[in-house]
Amino acid sequence: MIILENLGVALALLGAVLAALWAGIGSSIGVGIAGEAAAGVVTEDPAQFSKVLLLQLLPGTQGIYGLLIGFVTLTQIGVMGGSADISVIKGALYLAACLPMAFVGYKSAISQGKASVASIGLVAKRPDQFGKAMIFPAMVETYAILALLISILAIFGIGGLAI
């Protein structure tokens, strides 16, 4: 059965795609809601453009981390060139390794987007407090970074396993 023979690489690819997919969706939502708030501020005070733009972009990093995990997985399993010969169990491991980034990326990007909206409101009222406003969304991102860390360590670790 050709499907069973190639199930490993299929599972691994599924993991790579899920990481890029969910983290990307989360970031789109987060950057989207922050963008709405940012556009509102700029109608009142165009001088705040650069500040609110920065705040809007903060929830965008999860999408990048998702891409990163997706890409690293693709290179590890040989889809980007090389042999794509992965055992079923290894494929399943890759899939599992990608999940932290997929789940945490999705949820944290949305939450970070909401924190960004609040911070954009803060900057609109008190532009001098930009330094602090930036920190609130960045606090949320810590968890995306931790998920990225686990995903990436797991992916590199799986490559060295002899199963």
């Binding site: 990048i64 990163l68 330094g131 991102e141 810590t142 860390l149």
Partner: protein, 671 residues
């Protein structure tokens, strides 16, 4: 290297010199005015709010006029205009421009009037357009639309809100009235059909009511035929548009007034500030009294300058320890750029040292580690250096920020070389794809984080521990300086023992060192020693961190809660894993773009694709990752580092000065 010492200034002078003294102080910009004397029988404050409001209003009007001018005659701006800073104005030129103010004021009024005129004219255009559209269905009709009939006949010109034929209309009419009616269809569409109806004069009222029941609407009345009326409307539209163009030209003709307008805006802004300062003066019949804070280093020069110019008495004294003295930071060239970051958190509170000089080196290192690409660092350095060279008059704050990114860029280059990243793996990709030399690559001076992520993670944690312990050291320093030796042992030394002991103990466990891929494991004897040190620290913390409570039970409970704070050290250290994550993000995304670009291989389309993808991709990557590095460096400084020792809460030194947008008339004390 620290918070600037302030002197309290008390200046007493003749009332006649009041204006001149204030003018002088405003141009110097070294004194923060602070009301000191309350109203009493002798000294009183003047109410200056109306003057201040008036100045602000005039400044706002000038600003509006300037906006109008910029809308119709946009100013030519260079790429670097945002960095250029204010023009410097000599005192002579200042006088000259000030004398010109009345004329400029007229221009302001003229500009605002012209802009209003354009607004009104633009507003009338839609109405004309609508009238013209109403006439479109009637365009083939050759009678005036207000034609009401002849002596014997009555005419109805109008439309029904549905598609109707002549026959359909006649049938519908026959049901309502028996009067003979002649109908002619002028035009018809899905939405409406236009008819010309004729009946005998005596049947008029009956026909009219029948038509009304059918939903008849009279055509827009006009004494000209539809075709002529349409032409008239078109001509009027054109006339108004021409007038708008002329008015716009009139505004553009005033473009030469742009500089005076800018000056006027600044001038009124200065007036408003001066009025505000005037309001804080205590004045008696002949004398005024002014108090405030001035940096100690400039106090003497200010006093001398005042004495030379005016009949005043300036006295400088040390402020009371209780007083809320404003904070001004002063640091060397290396640390100064980070002052803005410290200010973004909070300025040092009473008795706190200025953290800028310890923050600065870590700031540059952490930023460089997160961006970690030699090429991106080069771009950053080149861009900042270029902007700083091109715009020597740049505002101090902007200059500081650019210098900060310049230093961050240098650090980025350093770490990029350490990790062998130059536009990611561009060197290798270009050599492989276009020159068929896969052996050429930029070798890292240290190691590649992508291939050894665990090593990078350990390095990040180690740097984090150094960073956190430095924060604790600053706390130790400031506690010792203020003489709280016991507190320094309780709050710092015990923590050093506990956290440090735990870390060393972890390094003696083969499981942990294996996991962290370290090449060494400390002998277990060290572990025992470390455990003892940590235990002493722990006991010390439990016994002392609730020391403000009297009862021992409460004190111990608080102590145990205090010791629970060790978990915050764990999360703080883990937080530095972002150094690895962000560093990897930069290099992996660069790699993605390089791979994408080299997909078509070594051919002409391949080279074109590579250049395109390379330019767009790396611009994007640099922008996103530089932003990420900035935000997360700030976070590590604010949350992890400052959290260990720094409270802030100081008030910023805001001297009475010229806070203008376009011109700067500051003169130096020496002149």
């Amino acid at each position: 290297m620290a918070v600037v010492t302030m002197k309290k200034a008390l200046i007493c002078g003749m009332k006649k010199d009041r204006q001149a003294v204030l003018d002088f102080l405003q141009r110097q910009g070294v004194l923060e005015i602070h009301p000191a004397v309350e109203d009493d029988g002798v000294f009183q404050k003047t109410e200056t709010l109306p003057q201040k409001t008036e100045g602000e209003r005039a400044a706002a009007l000038a600003r509006q006029a300037l906006d109008v001018l910029n809308q119709y005659a946009p100013e030519q701006k260079g790429l670097l205009s945002a960095f250029e800073g204010r023009q410097i104005l000599s005192v002579d030129r200042y006088q000259e421009m000030r004398d010109q103010c009345p004329q400029t004021q007229e221009v302001v009024q003229k500009l605002l009037d012209l802009s209003k005129e354009i607004g009104e004219k633009r507003g009338s255009l839609p109405r004309l357009e609508q009238q013209r559209e109403e006439l479109v269905p009637w365009s083939s009709f050759d009678l005036p639309l207000d034609f009401s009939g002849t002596q014997e006949t009555q005419a109805f010109i109008g439309s029904f809100p549905e598609a109707l034929t002549v026959q359909g209309l006649m049938e519908a009419l026959a049901e309502k009235t028996e009067a003979p009616v002649e109908a002619e269809l002028v035009s018809s569409s899905q939405m409406q059909s236009c008819f010309f109806l004729l009946c005998g004069r005596k049947d008029g009222p009956a026909v009219e009511s029948a038509l009304k029941e059918l939903g008849f609407q009279r055509a827009p009345a006009s004494s000209a035929t539809p075709a002529r009326r349409t032409r008239e409307l078109e001509e009027e539209t054109q006339r108004i548009q021409e007038e708008i163009r002329q008015t716009e030209q009139a505004i553009r003709d005033l473009a030469s007034w742009r500089e005076p307008l800018k000056f006027l805006m600044d001038y009124y802004q200065m007036q408003a500030e001066e009025s505000q300062a005037l309001g804080t003066l205590a004045q008696s019949q002949n004398v005024f009294l002014l108090s405030g804070y001035v940096p100690a280093s400039q106090a003497e020069a200010l006093g001398n300058a005042l004495n030379q110019r005016f009949q005043v008495c300036a006295e400088f004294s040390d402020p009371d320890p209780e007083e809320d003295v404003p904070v001004l930071l002063h640091n060397n060239k290396f640390a100064e750029p980070v002052e803005g970051i410290v200010e973004g958190y909070s300025l040092p509170g009473k008795g706190e040292p200025d953290p800028t000089s310890v923050t600065a080196p870590f700031y540059y290192i952490l930023f460089g580690l997160m961006l970690s690409d030699a090429a991106y660092g080069l771009i950053l350095v080149a861009a900042c250096a270029y902007a700083m060279k091109k715009c020597p008059r740049m505002e101090a704050g902007m200059k500081r920020t650019l210098r900060m990114f310049l230093y961050c860029g240098i650090s980025t280059i350093f770490w990029g070389l350490m990790f062998g990243s130059f536009f990611g793996d561009a060197v290798n990709v270009i050599a492989t794809t276009f020159f068929n030399r896969p052996d050429i690559r930029l070798a890292p001076l240290w190691f590649e984080p992508v291939s050894l992520p665990m090593k990078m993670l350990v390095f990040s944690f180690a740097l984090g521990i150094v960073h956190l312990f430095t924060g604790l050291a600053v706390k130790l320093y400031s506690l010792l300086k203020s003489g709280d030796v016991a507190d320094s042992v309780y709050d710092v030394v015990f923590w050093y023992m506990l956290a440090g002991g735990c870390i060393v103990y972890i390094l003696t466990m083969p499981m942990m060192t294996g996991m962290l891929e370290l090449s060494f494991t400390l002998p277990s004897a060290v572990g025992v020693g470390a455990a003892i040190v940590a235990a002493i620290g722990l006991v010390g913390i439990i016994l002392t961190s609730g020391r403000e409570s009297r009862s021992w039970g409460k004190r111990l409970l608080k102590g145990i809660y205090g010791a629970y704070g060790i978990t915050s050290y764990l999360s703080d250290i883990l937080s530095y894993s972002r150094l690895l994550a962000l560093g990897l993000a930069t290099s992996v995304i660069s790699t993605v773009f390089n791979q994408l670009g080299s997909m078509l291989g070594n051919s002409i389309p391949g080279a074109i694709l590579f250049v395109l993808v390379f330019l767009i991709g790396h611009t994007l990557n640099l922008a996103i990752n530089a932003m990420g590095a900035y935000v997360h460096t700030n976070r590590l400084q604010y949350v992890e580092f400052f959290g260990k020792f720094y409270d802030g809460g100081g008030r910023k030194f805001q001297p009475f000065a010229v806070h203008t947008k376009y011109y700067n008339v500051k003169e130096d004390l020496q002149s």
